[in-house]
């Protein structure tokens, strides 16, 4: 059982790390601010989600598990809001110098 859970952790964390990698590639390859932010915010939030899923078997209590899932939800909430706000200033001011 423990081996299976550890395997789950490894698979999910590797998948999460891959999404962080993908986000960076998007950042380096996409042409302008808005598309870059789009790529990065999606990839990073998915990456963190997978890392959280992977770490769930490693925590020692249900409360700790709920806490790390809660952390992910908080990041989603504030990340989405901030991205939306920043995009709005970008639209107002243009890509800028």
């Amino acid at each position: 059982m423990s081996l299976f859970l550890d395997l789950w952790t490894v698979v999910a964390v590797v998948a999460g790390a891959f999404f962080f990698f993908a986000g960076t590639v998007g950042l380096l390859r996409f042409p302008d601010s808005l598309t870059r932010l789009h790529a990065l915010s999606k990839a990073d939030n998915l990456g963190l989600g997978l890392v959280v899923l992977g770490l769930l078997p490693q925590v020692d209590s249900v409360a700790a598990g709920l806490k790390i899932v809660g952390i992910w939800l908080l990041v989603l909430l504030s990340g989405a809001t901030a991205a939306q706000w920043i995009a709005r200033t970008l639209r107002h001011s243009g890509p800028g110098p």
């Binding site: 999460g16 962080f20 890392v51 770490l55 952390i71 990041v75 901030a82």
Partner: protein
């Protein structure tokens, strides 16, 4: 297991840092603030991984604090920007 988790944390940090190098160059302030906020996501992932590797339960609270405050700089940035260009912030207020 601990070695693997620390390695994953190092990998994620390296990836995010690579992106950071690109984005700190700009072009605009908005990109940079967004980058700082998004690096927060990678940082939270790294904190959680390190916490799981050391088995120190309190690290989760560090990640929780980071998650709660992650977007504050971005909010403050937009607020300050809108205060500078009052015309734009009022467009949707209506009479």
């Amino acid at each position: 297991m601990a070695e693997f988790l620390v390695g994953a944390a190092a990998f994620i940090l390296a990836m995010v840092a690579l992106g950071l190098l690109r984005i700190l160059r700009g072009p605009g302030d908005a990109d940079r603030i967004m980058a700082a906020q998004l690096l927060g996501t990678g940082g939270i992932a790294a904190v959680l991984l390190l916490g799981a590797a050391t088995g120190e339960a309190a690290t989760v609270d560090v990640a929780l604090t980071l998650a709660l405050l992650a977007a504050f700089a971005a909010f403050a940035f937009v607020k300050a920007k809108l205060a500078q260009t009052p015309g734009e912030s009022r467009t949707a207020d209506g009479p």
